[in-house]
Amino acid sequence: MSKSTIERLIYMANQIAANLATSDDPVSATAAHIERYWDPRMKAMIKAYTGNDLTPAAAGAIGRITA
């Protein structure tokens, strides 16, 4: 049942966004979390992702991260 790396990253991004949904600004909070804890390759991979499996908050956050 192991996921591919991109599947895992999408899952992680959605999970972070879901858990930060109650914060003041979920999109910024999710972006800040990913900036703070993901390595550059993971950030670049999720940044390059063009599919539509990300939740709106996660997708918004990933639009803001620098990779």
Binding site: M1, Q15, A18, N19, A21, T22, S23, H33, D39, P40
Partner: protein, 953 residues
Amino acid sequence: MGFESQQDFGTPESRSEQLVTLTVDGREVTVPLGTTVMRAAAENGTSIPKLCATDSLKQFGSCRLCLVEIDGVRGTPASCTTPVSAGMVVHTQTPHLQKLRKGVMELYISDHPLDCLTCAANGDCELQDQAGAVGLRDVRYGADATHLGQAKDTSNPYFDFDPSKCIVCSRCVRACDEVQGTLALTIESRGFGSKVSAGLASENFFGSECVSCGACVQACPTATLTEKAVVEIGTPERAVVTTCAYCGVGCTFRAEMRGEQLVRMVPYKDGKANRGHSCVKGRFAWGYATHQERVTKPMIRASISDPWREVSWDEALSYTASELKRIAAQYGKHSLGGITSSRCTNEETFLVQKLVRAGFGNNNVDTCARVCHSPTGYGLAMTFGTSAGTQDFDSVEDSDVILLIGANPTDGHPVFASRMKRRLRGQDGKPPAQLIVVDPRRIDLVHTPHIEAAHHLPLRPGTNVAVLTALAHVIVTEGLANEAFVRERCDWDEYQHWADFVSQERNSPEALAPVTLVDPQELRAAARLYAKGPNSAIYYGLGVTEHSQGSSTVMAIANLAMATGNIGRRGVGVNPLRGQNNVQGACDMGSFPHELSGYRHISDGATRKMFEADWGVSIDPEPGLRIPNMLDAAVDGVFKAIYIQGEDILQSDPDTRHVSAGLAAMECVIVHDLFLNETANYAHVFLPGSTFLEKNGTFTNAERRIQPVRKVMTPINGYEDWEVTQKLAQAMGLDWNYTHPSEIMDEIARLTPTFTGVSFKRLDEEGSLQWPVNDKAPDGTPIMHIDAFVRGKGKFVVTDYVPTDEKTGPRFPLLLTTGRILSQYNVGAQTRRTANVEWHPEDLLEMHPQDAEDRGLKDGDWTKLASRAGETTLRLKVTDRVAPGVVYTTFHHPATQANVVTTDFSDWATNCPEYKVTAVQVSASNGPTDWQEDYEELSERARRIAEPAEPAE
């Protein structure tokens, strides 16, 4: 340091601040009120003969040897039960007393075998000492009725019980009661027939409730209870104070030695974490250090399908360095990484992360805390501002209410559990603390001798956040919050935002009951009890962290403590019970990929600059890979080499198939360990490690206590682990020249604001120090956040319950949760190589009788445990400790492969695996799964060591 037992003052110390002056044998003595005459004399250097008294136990007054004369007092009172009073004049030695004592001693000796010269306690026997002290020269009685010639009970693997040598002083029985709190021992019968018994007369020690903590052996004044090692080797000749390498309690021990041979580990009375107590692991389970399976020579191989080849250290290190350089050149510097160990010292973990950051040139360093307490680091840093527990262990003595969540201290942290049990039974005249247990399983503390939890909330695994939110709902909506504390110490706006959230009807115990399965009335009562306190403390373990909402749960716990004002003084606080001995230290030392020592983020330029100036390198400002991310990157073909010190990720990390795929995809796996562990099946380089007995350094326990680890024997592999890392660094061209771990600690102190006052010299003087130790707190910090939180204002974080995606359904209707057992430790690499396996030879699957009946399974059946990730087989134990719908197992044995079943779900903030919730099905089985069989074959193949080629004659 020569061998001398620690001084025994006879009775416990009095904590009164009021002082009393009396005269003992013509000399004035000033002691605290409540001190006994015996102790007052001992503190003044006068040793009154005694047998039934020892300072770890309350006075008992049965042996009649410690009689004294006191001016103005009739008769000869027992000094152990007589408290001092001002102006008292005591005589400890008079002709009358001498005669009385000699008479008493004569009676004892008349029923004691006179085999002193061949007795295991020869030279270390209080009866022998006291016979000498009272001047006994002749025994007139004893030919008729005696207790001699009784059979020895040798059933316990670590100590013998020889009733013929027993003087029925009851010290063992009292130790089991007062120190350990198990009450396994008793005195059966009465009068002349009195005999120490482990439970029922039909039971031997091994079959009894005895947990082998060793407190009785320690308390015994004769050879009645003696370590088997002393029987075999003889008495020790020197003692070195050091720190246990098992759990996060961090007990201080005296390693009692004969030459370089360890004779026994004896708990150190002045150890501030354990206060003279121990458990079966630290006290007895150290035989792994000299186990025949220990690898002592470095080994290399080009491919994991090859047998190992033993090589010299030089060859191993130059081969490793050349491989690392080749891989960095071929795949880029980010293809390398390392894992530090919570079982190694602070100095060793610091060097491994330094090797990665300064040598490999990236931040791909992680530690096993990833899979245990990383959510603690995240959650407590967010809310309080520092990644550590708030109290010292002594604090529990002042708790009125103890809320225990997802922890099973009697198995996982037994020595602290004994402290907790003392408090839960009431001590020093204080009424007992009340206990609330939040755990899907009925752990021992819910109902144990003299302890009954006020509330047990057996929640559905995976609903911690919902339960904590419901507790907060009750506290806020019933007006039980400590708003004065919150206004003063926390951000008031954030509190209000949080209070509004938890007050919503959807967060009430009643609304959440269908999710949590917890009785709302019971939950409300528990919330009221916690809020009432007045001193309420929270203790938690991996049942909190190892969930998809582990970090949220930690923050929810912190919210609860702040909302009720239970932070910043003795008796309260938020206390993570750390798994491994140095989890706290490994985290403190900058083992995480996103932070440098002292929890400073890698993106912080000023911090990086400090390290860059000290190390003479530039440091990557981007976070590196966490362990699961390393494995993903390995499967993707971009992560190629890993240096793993003292960790067995193949056994301990979730989703074994993914771990093995990741390791198999790497070109250079370097395992630095004591044994060919499971991970080593995939390794290309094996660097033999050293045990805690063979090295100098420090460990930091769950109370942030930095404690010395002292070398008592030469490493049989040749080097301490920090030396091996240094040699690897040197082989890679780094100019490292540490000559002693104290120099590494000096570097840590220089670079870490919370450690500036720490040095080996200071630790030798103080015994231990709790960080922060710096200009603001030169003597360390037993309790944190006293006047203000480290971050300034305490931060309330709204933690909404987000259910795990690991769901039960028709195919996998049960929830598996995992835990530990007393006799085993973590993946069992150490404890499985000791006699502790006698208690726990295999992992068992616990299942409720109803679930077992539904499946036609009975106790002892082989069962197949299957999840969406994989399947394994193990034997069933039917018990109502677990609720219907929940099954439970431990993961101490590699053959069980429990982590083949666990999934890749993890904590949202830290990727800490969700070990505690896996949807499974259980069915009858008639043998191991294909995976187990394949894996066993792989293990056998991977562990082959090539025979050295013999020259032809």
